[in-house]
Structure formats: structure tokens, C-alpha cells
């Protein structure tokens, strides 16, 4: 049993829970950056042999997910002057419990999926868990910035799932996805900035007040 990738995947789940359990946006973003770092290390650890494909994938992930996006989000919270997520739709303790449920669900579902053997066993359950928790954060938090963090976690989960096929998916496709995410977060950042300027708050529920 390989233990290094396993350990990395464990830390991915722990960073999921860190995002679920913290009120401070900076801590959320740090957890996300840490997750990006872990995700960048994974392709290198899982690959049977080093190819330029794998190295570039790792490097691209490292730059985009561990440095550029967190830096950008940090800039956004400084601009918008928000520090904390106040009253999420589902409180912190229930959302931690839901996180455990998501973890159980991820493991239960991956046990039923017809997956090719010989892959890291934890990869699929952890990716499903990260997707579910990302969705949870995206839907139950009120601040637009936390929702962006949720979206990025969701994408991290999909990235993890993609790693099961890392050697058969064309490199260009992966870079395209990475670029899409980057652009999406960029646009979200601008939207967040404008929401904040328009409403003096990042509460996305206020968007219902929009009129022409």
C-alpha cells in the first residue's frame, strides 16, 4: 500500500473540513491554498513514470490553485473588507456533521462504482467527498466569497476524480479546464467586487433586490 498519496488525500479531506468549520475567510482561503498544494503534489506521486505531461500538470496546478487563486481571493477580501462568514444557512456544527455524512456517502458510492482496479483506493471516495462538501459550502454560505471557495473545492474534487484517468486524458484538455477555472474565478472576483460596491455587503441573498 502506498502511504504518501494516502496521507495527501487524508489532508485533502481535513482541509475540506477546515473550510466547513471556520468562520474566518482568510482561514478558508488558506485551507483552500493548502488543498491546492496537495493537489499539485498528487499527480507526481501517483504517476508510474515521470513524463512532461505529469510534471506540467503538477506545475500548472501549483501555480493556479496554490498561489494565483488564493492570492486573488485574499486581494478580494481586502478590497471588500469582509473578514467572516456571518450566519450561514446551516450552522457550523450541523455542517460539520453533514460533512461526515458526505464522507460516508463518498466512500459508500465509490464502493459501488465500477472503477478500473490498480488505482489509489482513496482517490475516488476523497474526490466525491470533496465535490459534495464543495457543493455544501457553495449552497449554504451567504457570502459571495465563501461561495467562490465552495466552487473551487467542487472543482478540486473533479480534478481529483480526473486524476484516476490522468494518463489517458489529453494534457491540453486539463490545461483548458485549469484556464476555465482561472477565468471563472477572475470573473467571480470582479462580480464580488461589484456586488460589494453596489450593496455594501457580500451577502448574495441581497441580489434578489436587483431591479432594472
Amino acid at each position: 500500500m502506498q502511504t504518501a498519496p494516502q496521507l495527501v488525500l487524508l489532508f485533502v479531506v481535513l482541509s475540506d473540513f477546515a473550510v466547513l468549520g471556520t468562520t474566518r475567510l482568510t482561514t478558508c482561503i488558506r485551507a483552500l491554498a493548502f488543498q491546492g498544494l496537495l493537489l499539485a503534489a498528487l499527480p507526481l506521486m501517483l504517476a508510474s513514470h515521470f513524463s512532461t505531461h505529469v510534471v506540467l500538470l503538477g506545475l500548472g496546478t501549483l501555480v493556479v490553485k496554490a498561489f494565483v487563486l488564493p492570492r486573488f481571493l485574499t486581494w478580494a477580501i481586502r478590497e471588500a473588507a469582509v473578514r467572516r462568514e456571518v450566519e450561514p444557512l446551516i450552522g457550523y456544527v450541523p455542517s460539520l456533521l453533514l460533512g461526515v455524512l458526505a464522507l460516508g456517502l463518498g466512500f459508500a458510492m465509490s464502493a459501488r462504482l465500477p472503477l478500473p482496479a490498480g488505482r489509489e483506493a482513496l482517490l475516488v471516495p476523497v474526490s466525491l467527498t470533496t465535490v459534495i462538501i464543495g457543493l455544501l459550502v457553495l449552497t449554504t454560505r451567504r457570502k459571495a466569497l465563501t461561495q467562490v471557495v465552495g466552487y473551487l473545492m467542487l472543482e478540486n474534487g473533479i480534478f481529483l476524480f480526473g486524476l484516476t484517468q490522468a494518463e489517458s486524458v489529453p494534457f491540453l484538455l486539463e490545461l483548458g479546464v485549469l484556464l476555465d477555472v482561472f477565468v471563472a474565478v477572475f470573473i467571480m472576483g470582479i462580480v464580488v467586487f461589484h456586488i460589494n460596491r453596489e450593496f455594501d455587503s457580500l451577502d448574495s441573498a441581497r441580489l434578489t433586490e436587483l431591479q432594472d
Partner: protein, 303 residues
């Protein structure tokens, strides 16, 4: 019942008062103070034992019975943990529930004695203590469930004894998670670290310390010793998870236990020095977090 198991219990009873001293000393050193001697609690206990107890006229026999019940329950609990790394002096299927029950009994006696004084401060402390416990106990059982799943045994001796060492190479991540969960529980159950501040002297912020405000003399000595013993017992759980000692000779196993307990006490001191005390509303979140760690370990074992 073997000699080594009994010897381990005796060692545990002997070094328990050392642990709070080690934690306090660590804290002092980290914050640049000299601090009280490591053996301070032994001196305190000796001094208190020679004092005359003072009882308020509003208290009843419940107040006097409290400390004795606390000590009795904790002593019995000490006999359930395999302190020498093999088997406990007392062991039966399901004794982990008895262990949790004895700890709950000790807490119940303490809380009742606090309420018996009729002081509103102690009532508040009692309510907080029970609130923390209500969140800590499910997490404790989740940790135990993780260990049961890892070893396939439902007694503390079976869980923390021989099979655990063999499980480490295969289930290292789960056992680490369970161990971390147990350490957080140690902080919560013993009113340490970010949950309570054992050094505070403001009744409004205390949890554990405030319940024992009215106890004096030998009663207070018994309660202080009980708290130290409880810290030792939880420490022994943590040490047993992280350092299975079944393969070692009995004296070596006991020596490693003593060393491990000191390391746990140092860790407690470090945690207390580097973290601010949590607001009371955040305490359940931390304890649920400990439960999440244990549940995560459990799910990993099931997968």
C-alpha cells in the same frame, strides 16, 4: 490479574499529580516565566490533607459524599485501562462503556456536590461542565468505536493491548486520527487548553474550577488528586493509541507509559500557551471536530 498490571496502576497513581505540574512548567517556560515547581501539586495535596475541612451550613451529605465518589469512580476506571500495554487488572467485554460510565459518574458526583452548595457560581460552572461533557461523550464513543473496528475487540484491554501494535502498519491514518480526537477530548474532559483555563480565577469564566470553590481541606485534596488522575487516565489512552507497548517487557512498557504521559502533559502545556481560550459557543464546534476526526478514522477503517 498480573503483577505488572498492578504495578502499572501503582505507578499511574503515583505520577498522576506530576502531570499538571509538567503542563504548568511548560507553560511558564514558553511564556518566559519561572513558574511553580513541577512537584507543586504533591506539596499542595500534603498541605490540604492536614487541614480541617470547612462545611457550609447549607450543604448536605451530598456535598461530603461528592469527593469520595469522584475518587472511587476514577480509581476503578484506572483499573480498566491496560496501563502496562497488555491487559488491565479488570477486564470484560464492553468495559469501555463502563469506563465512560465511571467518568460520567465522577462528573455527576462533582456537579451534584457543586449544586448542593446553592451558590449560583457553582451552578453556572456545573451547567457548563455538563454541557461540555454532553458533546465530549459522543466523541469519546466514536473514538472507541474506531478502536473497536481497528482491533475487533470490545474490551479496553483487547483494544489497547496486543492487537493494536499489529494494526499500526495497516491502519496508521485511522489510528492517528482517533489519537488526535482522543487528545482533543483530553483537553475538554480535563478542562484544559482552549476549552477552559485552569489558571483563571474569575468565577464567571471558569468551568471546572468553579464547581470546587466550596470544597476545602482533605475534600479539595481528593478532588485535585482526582482531576490529576483523570488527566493521567486520558493521557494513558492517548499514549496507548500512539505507542502500543505489548511487545516490550513490563518495566519498559511502564517506563514508556510514564514518559509518554509527561510528553502528553508537555503537549497540553504547549497547546495552552499557543491558543487563546475559545468562546463558550465555539466549544461544541471543537468537540464535534474531535468527533469528526474519529468518525473519519472509522470510515477509513470501514472502507
Amino acid at each position: 490479574m498480573t503483577v505488572s498490571a498492578l504495578a502499572a496502576v501503582v505507578v499511574m497513581l503515583g505520577i498522576a499529580p506530576l502531570l499538571p505540574g509538567v503542563a504548568v512548567r511548560t507553560k511558564s517556560l514558553l511564556t518566559g516565566r519561572h513558574g511553580a515547581p513541577v512537584l507543586q501539586l504533591y506539596h499542595d495535596l500534603w498541605k490540604l490533607l492536614h487541614k480541617e475541612p470547612v462545611y457550609s451550613t447549607t450543604t448536605t451529605w451530598i456535598f461530603r459524599a461528592g469527593p469520595l465518589l469522584v475518587l472511587a469512580a476514577l480509581l476503578l476506571a484506572a483499573f480498566l485501562i491496560p496501563l502496562d500495554g497488555r491487559a488491565a487488572p479488570l477486564s470484560f467485554a464492553g468495559d469501555l462503556v463502563a469506563f465512560a460510565g465511571l467518568l460520567a459518574l465522577a462528573r455527576f458526583a462533582l456537579v451534584l456536590a457543586g449544586l448542593d452548595t446553592g451558590s449560583s457560581f457553582e451552578g453556572m460552572g456545573a451547567s457548563r461542565e455538563v454541557t461540555v461533557a454532553a458533546f465530549a461523550e459522543p466523541a469519546l464513543f466514536l473514538c472507541f468505536t474506531g478502536l473497536v473496528l481497528a482491533t475487533g475487540s470490545v474490551s479496553l484491554s483487547g483494544m489497547l493491548g496486543t492487537p493494536l501494535g499489529e494494526m499500526w502498519p495497516r491502519a496508521a491514518p485511522s489510528l492517528t486520527l482517533v489519537g488526535i480526537g482522543l487528545f482533543v477530548l483530553l483537553l475538554a474532559e480535563n478542562s484544559r487548553g482552549p476549552i477552559d483555563d485552569p489558571a483563571t480565577h474569575l468565577e464567571l469564566t471558569m468551568i471546572h474550577e468553579v464547581i470546587v470553590l466550596d470544597h476545602s481541606g482533605p475534600d479539595l485534596a481528593v478532588i485535585l488528586y482526582g482531576s490529576a488522575l483523570k488527566l493521567g487516565l486520558f493521557g494513558a489512552l492517548v499514549v496507548s493509541v500512539f505507542a502500543p507497548r505489548a511487545g516490550l517487557s513490563a518495566p519498559a512498557a511502564i517506563a514508556i507509559l510514564a514518559l509518554g504521559l509527561c510528553i502528553v502533559a508537555v503537549a497540553v502545556g504547549i497547546v495552552e500557551s499557543v491558543t487563546a481560550r475559545l468562546r463558550l459557543v465555539r466549544v461544541p464546534q471543537l468537540l464535534v471536530g474531535a468527533g469528526v476526526f474519529a468518525a473519519f478514522g472509522m470510515i477509513l477503517l470501514l472502507a
